[in-house]
Symmetry: C2
Subunit: 175 residues, 2 copies
Amino acid sequence: MKKSIAIDMDGVLADVEAHFITWYHRDYGQKFTKKDLLGKTEENAFPKKGMVKKFASSENFFRSVPVMKGAIEAVKELQKTYDIYIVSAAMEFPQSLVEKRAWLDQYFPFIEWKKIIFCGDKSIINTDIMIDDHLKNLDHFKGETLMFSAFHNVNFTHHKRADNWQEVLNILGSR
Amino acid sequence: MKKSIAIDMDGVLADVEAHFITWYHRDYGQKFTKKDLLGKTEENAFPKKGMVKKFASSENFFRSVPVMKGAIEAVKELQKTYDIYIVSAAMEFPQSLVEKRAWLDQYFPFIEWKKIIFCGDKSIINTDIMIDDHLKNLDHFKGETLMFSAFHNVNFTHHKRADNWQEVLNILGSR
């Protein structure tokens, strides 16, 4: 039986970091780089407070987020060896549910709907492997974890790290 | 630590059976009773084929489904002893995602969003107990199962059965 992987959306398949930077520049006129955000928490990443929640609650935010570089090809590759589930904590922002489903249909049409899970917390998700950028999801996971690098997790070292999708393939692809 | 329960929506919290009967009568003029459907599959429950999928894909179907008798009070009661998750196979019908979330907010506002999961299949759901009406969900579940009676499952006996929410409480409430 194939091993199963739960793959996160925001910060892993979807480059929300780049999207936050673009929208912040558009709305507040200040241009940040990914480097500027390194080591910050999501809450204090930008000078204007509450912005992350404001954008995440905005219509079209999740529908228009760019795909993380290399994600499509890598997931296709992993699908040959693993049973792939997309698991996204979408429940906090109800308008994101339909947008995220449409976004997946556009960029990852090879993931069938049976393999998509939108949840609140991820504590009852049971796969062999989890790829995620958030400690709150990885720390309580019972299987093997792979931390996808994001500005808010660069200072943590207690999960195996992948800086990009090529590194994910290097770690998981050769088994 | 509290034991966790995954509670299904359609056929368990939501009386989709009654709703199908109402909509079928409205659209095709024929009035069925719950007794008429006993032992049938969802696909052959009504003379008009494809109706279940047609209704389930219709706007407002899931938003207007009646609550199963006794469900609200019973879930409130179970919440005192158990960690309650609502787990619904909503992914097949994307328009249902927002409707189901709004429906839960209306009738089950005491369930926080962190405890809601919309999925495709339920194979990676890991709770101690599952309450569901569908064999496809119960048969592969690793924990304790409780089959909520529905017309399509009356002839199966390989899961512990609860005919209504009072019976669920009788079985789980006294622990």
